[in-house]
Structure formats: C-alpha cells, structure tokens
C-alpha cells in the first residue's frame, strides 16, 4: 500500500522505466500543490466531489479479477484481451496487434499524460502515480476485423488506481478497441483512467467504452483523441455505473478531412452522478464531427453534459453538430445540458440541439391509443429513446446487453413505483 505523499512516492515509481520516473517526480510537485475539486470550479459545476486522497491508497498487488460480466459474453470475436486490475496490467493474451506495457518500454520514452498534469488534482495524481500502462500500436495498413478487448477492473476497497491506455493507429489502418470498466460489488474506490488515442493520416478507429462500475465506485476518465488527415474516429460511450462517473473528453481534428462521431448513452439511478465534459476542436480544414448523446435519470440521480464545439480561425468548411437529449423520469432526478459553440471561422456549418424533460405526453397518448397500457407505452418509449444510440454504437455485438441493462433499470423502477 502506498499513501499519496512524497514519502511513499518512491515506492510507487520503484518499478518503472527511468524516463517515466522523471515524469512522475515532476508531476508530484503539481499534485501536492493542487486542491481536490470542490464543485465550485466551473469545470466541476453540479458535481459533489468528496473523495480525498488522504483516505485512499495505491495498491501494488492487485486483487483477484472479477468473474465474467454480461458485456463480453455476447461479443462474437476479439483480437485479444488485456486485463487491468487495480491499475496494474495483469494479463495480455492472444493479441493480434502490438500491445506493450510500461515495463516493455525501458528505453523508449513516450508522451504519457493525455492532459496537462495541472488540469486538476486527479490528472496530477495520474501523472505522479500511474506506474503501469498499456500501449496498443496498430501498424500501418493493418486491418482489425474484431475489437481488442481491454477490461479495466477495480476490486480493492479504498484503492485509487490509474489505468493508462494508449492507442496509436498508424496510416491507413483500421482499428477496433473495446474498454469495459467494472468494479467489485459494494467496494468504494477511485479510478482515474487516462486514454490517449492517436489516429494517423487515413487511419480509422472504432472505440467503445462501457462503464459498468458498481455504484460505490468513483470513476474520473481523461480521454483525448487526435485525428490526422482524412482520419476517422468513432467513439461510443455507455455510462451505467459508478457513484460519480465522469468523462472528460477532448477530440482534436487536426488533419484536413478528419471526421469524428461520438455517440453515447447514460442512465442514472439511485444517487448516481454521470458527468460528461467534451471539447471538440476543429483546426484542420474540411473536417466534420457529430456528437449524439442521450441520457435518462431516475430516483435522485443527476447527469451533466457540457459540450463545446470549437472551430479555429483557419478551419474552413467545418461541419459539426451536437445533440444532447435527456429524460427526467423522477421528481428528484436532474439533468444539466449545456451545449456550446465557439466559432472563429465564418465558412462553417454547425449547430446544436438539447432537451431536458419527461417522456412526451403526445407520444404516450399516441402509443396508448393503440391499446398499450401506460406502463407498457413508457417502456416502449424508453427503449425507442435509447435505440437510436444503440443502433449507432461503433462496436457490434454489445447492443443486446446494453439495451437489456437500460430496460431492466427502467422496468425495475416502474415496478417499484419510482417513476413519475
């Protein structure tokens, strides 16, 4: 066990390559200087963060992996499996792409942190304490016809872990990556993953993350994707679990002709907070992006979406759109939706759409007028609401378990009279 202080820091970096140890040293000073987020910061608005590092520790010997969950069983095929438990890479098996861990890269210095270490206290903690990582390198012209599966698990109580995944997609290759986050039942812990995605010229990536942590876990993900010329990045984000599940996502369309699509769904119940912060930055010309996020909250759950589409001065002929639709299914459920545009160039097409509200009366009336009971009509509408996202998830094969989980949650709440 390593406490989050300078005295124990040497312990944390004892097994890493020297280049990484140097990075960890410089990040430690930043980590110590920063305060934990309190919710008053603009970037943490609406979020009640209360998980001081003083009560957490880093684990050297990861706990027992979890038994198989529902999401991978329906996947027809994969290009290998990687297992990360409590922040440590514990298994890499039958992979058909190049996968390295931090220890494999003794003499190959790599960029590590995906955000500036002073981005916030949690990013600084990742910079200072992340001592293992997975580097996925998809070679030029390589075509993956099934996803590489990366399971990220948290199992040890009061552990803070820093899973680190870097995906590099070389020129004209086609890659698929599936990340599934899970944690042990009822175990309080903090996970601060960083995901770094680089897609080179003409490369194509399909990436899906399914966050299905236990409701006692907290997950704060920093994820960045950079797209080269004519590169395509399709991201899917499914948010179901965690007490606080936060995704801080940045997409940078740097190359001319790059395009990205981000589709996502979230469903909050109990006292969950599901928090999405996105910045889509267009700097190349002729680039296009689409954000399509749908969510629902019931009980006392809340969701946050802030999405900024930023178009730089020289990014001519940009086409971009963001949509965020929210269903509030209980009296105490809350959904905050804040789409934003920052346009510094005049030759662009862009827009946004956002809504927050209950199921539409008109829809219920129409469905019921065909003989479906109110409860059945509501279930059909919930299914339909999310179906639009599920149909667009970038990795095939997870439609059924995702749809079933969303449906199960709503039906359960309906049965227990927790839906207004």
């Amino acid at each position: 066990m390593t406490a989050f202080d300078a005295a124990d820091h040497a312990n944390s970096k004892s097994n890493v390559p020297s280049w990484r140890a140097a990075q960890m040293d410089s990040a430690l000073a930043v980590f110590e200087a920063l305060d934990e987020p309190t919710g008053v910061e603009e970037d943490w608005r609406y979020v009640d963060y209360d998980l001081p590092f003083a009560g957490l520790a880093q684990i050297e010997d990861p706990g027992e992996p979890l038994s198989d969950g529902p999401f991978l069983a329906s996947l027809a095929d994969n290009s290998g499996r990687v297992l990360i438990v409590d922040g440590q890479v514990v298994d890499v098996s039958s992979v058909s792409v190049s996968v390295s861990t931090l220890r494999d890269l003794e003499s190959h210095e790599r960029e590590f942190s995906v955000v500036a270490v002073d981005h916030n206290k949690l990013a600084a903690a990742h910079g200072a304490f992340a001592n293992d990582a997975v580097f996925v390198d998809v070679a030029a012209n390589q075509l993956m016809d099934s996803p590489l599966v990366i399971e990220v698990q948290g199992v040890t109580p009061n552990a803070a872990s820093f899973p680190h995944i870097s995906v590099t997609v070389a020129e004209n290759s086609e890659a698929q990556v599936l990340v599934v986050y899970r944690s042990a039942d009822g175990v309080e812990l903090l996970m601060v993953p960083e995901i770094d995605i680089q897609v080179a010229d003409g490369g194509r990536l399909r990436f899906l993350a399914v966050q299905s942590l236990d409701h006692a876990a907290t997950n704060v993900v920093h994820q960045r994707m950079t797209l080269g010329r004519d590169a395509t990045g399709r991201l899917g984000e499914v948010g179901l679990g965690a007490k606080l599940g936060r995704l801080d996502l940045g997409v940078s369309l740097e190359g001319d002709g790059a395009s990205s699509e981000i589709v996502g769904l979230y469903f909050g119940e109990g006292a969950q907070t599901l928090d999405y912060r996105m910045l889509i930055n267009h700097s190349g010309r002729n680039t296009s992006s689409d954000v399509f996020l749908k969510g629902a909250v019931e009980d006392d759950a809340q969701s946050v979406f802030t999405g900024l589409l930023r178009i730089e001065k020289d990014a001519r002929r940009t086409s971009t759109f963001e949509t965020n639709r929210n269903l509030v299914l209980s009296e105490n459920g809350k959904a905050h939706s804040v789409p934003n545009l920052e346009i510094l160039c005049d030759d662009v097409i862009c827009g946004h759409a956002s809504s927050v509200g209950p199921l539409e009366e008109d829809h219920l009336y129409y469905i019921q007028s065909r003989g479906l009971s109110k409860e059945r009509a509501e279930r059909l509408l919930i299914k339909g609401f999310f179906q639009e996202v599920i149909d667009r998830l970038p990795i095939e094969g997870l439609e059924a378990p995702v749809s079933e989980e969303v449906f199960r949650r709503f039906a359960q709440a309906q049965k227990e009279g927790r839906v207004v």
Binding site: S369, G371, L380
Partner: protein, 267 residues
C-alpha cells in the same frame, strides 16, 4: 343493425371555452358515417374526447357496443375496440413500426405468430413493408402517414374507427388510395366515423350517412344530397337554410401596431 357508437348530449370545454355543446350521434355496426363541418367546429375535439386524450372538461356520455367509454383510460378504450386514425400522427423516434404493432396486437389478445402474420399481410396490402423496421412515422410524407394509420387499423381491427381528416394534405391519388383502403375495411363488425371538411373524399367512398357539425353542435344529418348542398352553397348556405346565426367571437386584443397600420398616412 345494433349500435356500435352512441354519443349522447356531449358537452366539452377546454379552459372553460365551450367546444362541443350537446352533441349526439348514433352509428350502427356495418355503416360508414361522415361528419363534416367548417374549421373550428369541434370535429377533432370530438375524436380526441372519444379516444380519451386528457385535458378536456367532459359532460354527457358515450358508449361502444353498450360499454361506457368515459370511465375508461385511453388504452382501455382501444382494447375495447375504439381506434383513431390521427390527423397529425406523432413521430416516435427509435420505436419501430413492426415492434409497436407487435406489442399492440398482443394487447388486443393476438398470439405472437398470428400478429406477425397479420402485420406481414396487411403491410403488403398497404405497401408498408419498407416502413416496418423504421421509426413510427419518422420521415414519412403526409400520404404515407395516413396510409400507416389505416395499416395500423387493419392490423388491430377495431369495432369503431374514428378517421380524423384522413383526406387532408393528400394529393388526389393518395385520397383514392386511402378511400379504397377504408372501403376495403367495411365489415358488419365495424362502424366508421370519418371526419372531413371536404366533400372530395365522398366521391371515392360511399357513406351511409352525412352529419354536419357547426359550432360544436350536430345541426343536420342526411344522405349524399347534403354533401351536394355543401358543395354548391358551402357551410354559409347551410347556416342560412337552418337559420344559424354566426356567433362572433371575442377577437384577439388589438395590438398597438394594428392602430398604426390602420392610420391613413397617405391622406
């Protein structure tokens, strides 16, 4: 023929504004009745009140095959056999037409296999095949939406069908097609109430009786001669014959801008 739909002394208000005022109607099984009337006469309100849309203050009674309608919820009325073809069918994103009809057919007591077969057969008949696996009413033209409504009726086989302006917004070919579809639905177990404000559709569809509704009341009933009278003299002519004064409503408050436009600047 026994009575399929009986509406007695129905008065309806919305926000204390009277829309229907002592409206009565009786439609036997096996017949097709048309209700005609000018805009704002309360035709659509009648459909929605019978279907069970919330938000109306309702007095009077209505029954289907002797069963009281107003004590039932929307879905219960539908399961009893009352279906409305909507004037403006709602788009429901993500809900596929086939899935919707499967669930509805199941609620109507059909087995899975029977429902699937009926959906296939009727979709072929109405050319709805390409729309079965698309979201309900999404990206459909006006004519396609009306066709979809009739298709849904053909699958769910109501005892009383309320067709609210099934002919509005359609080109002449689509009106013919929809009329043929309604004609094909005719059966001794079905009563059809068709709401329209044009007599156009009556050229393609034989109706047993025509009712005229003005200011929330049923003012006259008759056969095809009534449609002809309306065709030549309009609702104005009918008002004159029946001696119905035009009720002048309180107009909207005049805005200051109206005074300016009325000021004769060029004098």
């Amino acid at each position: 023929m026994s009575t399929a739909l009986m509406v007695s002394d129905l008065s309806v208000a919305v926000d204390n504004k009277q829309i229907l005022d002592g409206f009565s109607l009786e439609v036997p099984f096996g017949e097709v009745h048309a209700i005609m009337g000018p805009n704002g006469s309360g035709k659509s309100t009648l459909c929605h009140v019978l279907t069970g849309k919330p938000g109306y203050q309702v007095k009077g009674s209505a029954s289907l095959n002797g069963d009281d309608l107003f004590s039932l919820d929307v879905d219960e009325r539908a399961r009893l056999g009352l279906l409305q073809s909507f004037q403006y069918p709602t788009q429901v994103a993500g809900v596929k037409l086939r899935e919707f009809m499967m669930e509805a057919a199941e609620e109507m007591g059909l087995g899975t296999a029977e429902a699937a077969t009926r959906i296939e057969t009727e979709s072929e008949r109405f050319g709805m095949g390409p729309f079965l696996d698309r979201s309900v009413n999404a990206d459909l033209s006006g004519g396609e939406k009306k066709k979809s409504e009739i298709f849904q009726m053909a699958v769910l086989r109501p005892k009383v069908a309320l067709l609210d302006e099934i002919d509005s917004g359609l080109d002449i070919d689509a009106v013919k097609q929809v009329s043929e579809a309604v004609e094909a639905m005719r059966s001794p177990d079905l009563a059809v109430v068709m709401i329209t404000h044009y007599s156009r559709i009556l050229r393609y569809l034989s109706v047993d009786r025509i009712h005229v509704m003005i200011d929330g009341r049923l003012v006259d009933s008759g056969g095809s001669e009534l449609a002809e009278e309306l065709e030549s003299g309009g609702y104005e002519g009918l008002r004159k014959r029946l001696g119905i004064e035009k009720v002048l409503e309180d107009g909207p408050m005049r805005k200051p801008a109206d005074f300016f436009t009325e000021t004769p600047f060029d004098v």
